[in-house]
């Protein structure tokens, strides 16, 4: 019990979707017009996650794979507390830091400098100013941004934003880190750094949830892999067991569209 970092208990998530449909035939032009003006739409329920249950031990590096739309990001958001499950619950032990994209965490603050965004980002994570003061110099140094740290972030490349985000994650030392496809983007030198970043997180004893489309990276770093498909866990086991079957699956399946029922 004490060595668990994350426990997902029977989690399901339902969305109510508004689907705006429009007829494209010229004959029903007026029909279309009235639809657009009155914004008539269909409401359907979409089951994004269905009865998901699993546990993650402290210090484990769990990989999550699946096709686009399988529910990986949704699951990541649920663990991070951004979505509340319709059924079930998520228990965690420690502080979570979830990274979904390389620039998103900086919001509309692109007018502000990197340094100011360090404060902004950490404050949104719940840290107070004195703690941030202590780590800010280390963060700037590790990110290797140099003088750019005082330039507005709108001038940054994706790689620079990534270096800043990872630098902060390194210094904030969260207990649980969720990486939602953030290590796949970037130039080759960034890719090389990506592996080092995972090692640094591991050395802190952090529990890592690594979502990726790169089977190579998952194979290299994760002992255990969960394969998500259509909102359900298709396989949960050792990477050497799951990854070959998953690789086969995506090789065979071509462009299957997920039905909303």
């Amino acid at each position: 019990m004490d060595d668990q970092a994350v426990k997902v208990e029977n989690v399901s998530l339902k969305f109510k979707l508004n689907l705006t449909k429009s007829k494209s035939s010229a004959k029903s032009f007026f029909f279309l017009l009235s639809h657009k003006i009155l914004n008539i739409s269909e409401r359907r329920t979409f089951l994004a996650l269905d009865s998901i249950s699993f546990e993650i031990k402290k210090g484990e590096l769990l990989g999550i794979v699946g096709r686009n739309g399988a529910g990986k990001t949704t699951l990541a958001r649920i663990i991070a507390g951004i979505y509340t499950p319709s059924i079930g619950r998520v228990l965690v032990n420690g502080k979570i830091n979830a990274l979904f994209s390389l620039g998103g965490g900086f919001q509309q603050n692109v007018e502000f400098s990197g340094r100011e965004n360090i404060y902004s980002y950490c404050i949104y994570q719940g840290y107070n100013k004195s703690k941030i003061d202590r780590i800010v110099d280390g963060v700037i140094e590790f990110s290797e941004l140099g003088d750019f740290v005082d330039a507005p972030m709108k001038t940054y490349s994706a790689g620079m934003k990534g270096r800043l985000i990872f630098s902060m994650a390194t210094y904030l030392k969260p207990d649980i880190i969720i990486l939602d496809e953030v290590l796949s983007a970037g130039d080759p030198s960034f890719q090389k750094k990506a592996g080092n970043i995972l090692e640094i997180f591991k050395s802190h004893g952090a529990t890592i949830v690594f979502i990726s489309h790169s089977i190579e990276m998952i194979k290299q770093h994760c002992k255990r892999v969960i394969w998500l498909d259509n909102g359900k866990i298709k396989m949960d086991g050792l990477s050497q067991d799951v990854l070959p079957v998953y690789g086969d699956f995506i090789g065979r399946v071509k462009g299957v569209v997920r039905r909303i029922s």
Partner: protein, 269 residues
């Protein structure tokens, strides 16, 4: 120790504790807004004073010179109403879009969203601090002294803050589910302003309608502010009582609705 990620939604006390933990967000957003509000303008921060003064000038011109309202110290009379209403109107209008205004950022971070409404009310308070200063300056120029009844002012401001917070929270939630709501709210608030005794005194209302008119919570608010500031008298308790009850009720309703529905915000944006 394993604990529920959404624990803060299981009790108001835990939610308030979580808000306290993330309190620096309010300071940061407040600081950003204050720094950028009048940046780059020639008159800079002078606009904190000029904005309400210009507004007052327009109303005084229309009502005192065009409509020929005869009332002693009409500008101060008006300004009492303008100050209160600018706080409430700003809190409610900004409040109803403060959550939707976050956009996709809501999917990147997790923090108690009520802090956004708290931030809006803080900013509104900051704005009326300047207006209260102008008000006292006008009293000084008109050689109107203050009486001990001015000590009711903190109470009145507290009631306004409750109303601002409660309405802000309630409208924020409505604004998420009904995107049209800001468009409905603006004219509705305009109407409410004109139906309240801010531009005129309650004596203008015919006797047979006066009792219904007095049920308007803003009636007690405007009358009381004028009483304690301009006339040196005590609050009009018969109408201010309604204002206080309304403020407490609005806050209670706004808080419970916001706290209960916040878990579903991200699913409906």
């Amino acid at each position: 120790m394993l604990s529920d990620v959404n624990k803060k939604f299981s009790s108001p006390f835990l939610y308030l504790r979580e808000m306290w933990r993330y309190r620096q967000i309010v300071l940061m957003l407040f600081r950003n807004r204050v720094l950028s509000a009048h940046k780059g303008k020639y008159l800079g921060n002078l606009w904190y004073f000029l904005d309400p003064l210009f507004q007052l000038l327009v109303w005084v011109f229309i009502f005192q010179f065009v409509f020929r309202i005869r009332r002693e110290n009409y500008p101060i009379f008006l300004f009492c109403g303008i100050t209160c209403w600018s706080f409430l109107g700003n809190s409610w209008r900004e409040g109803c879009s403060c959550v939707t205004g976050m956009g996709n950022f809501m999917f990147e971070v997790n923090f108690p969203k009520m802090l956004l409404v708290v931030n809006v009310v803080f900013i509104s308070l900051y704005y009326i601090a300047f207006q209260i200063f102008i008000l006292f300056f006008m009293l000084y120029v008109a050689k109107i002294g203050l009486t001990v009844n001015i000590l009711y002012l903190p109470l009145v401001i507290s009631v306004m803050v409750l109303m601002g917070l409660g309405g802000g929270m309630l409208f924020a939630v409505i604004g998420i589910f009904i995107r049209d709501f800001p468009n409905i709210l603006k004219p509705a608030l305009r109407l409410w302003w004109f139906l309240s005794p801010a531009l005129y005194s309650i004596e203008r209302i015919p006797l047979k309608y006066r009792d219904i008119f007095k049920l308007n919570p803003l009636c007690g608010l405007f009358q009381t502010v004028r009483n304690i500031v301009l006339y040196g008298k005590s609050p009009t308790w018969d109408t201010f009582f309604i204002t206080v009850i309304f403020g407490i009720a609005l806050f209670a309703i706004g808080f419970s609705i916001f706290y209960k529905i916040e878990p579903d915000f991200t699913k409906n944006i």
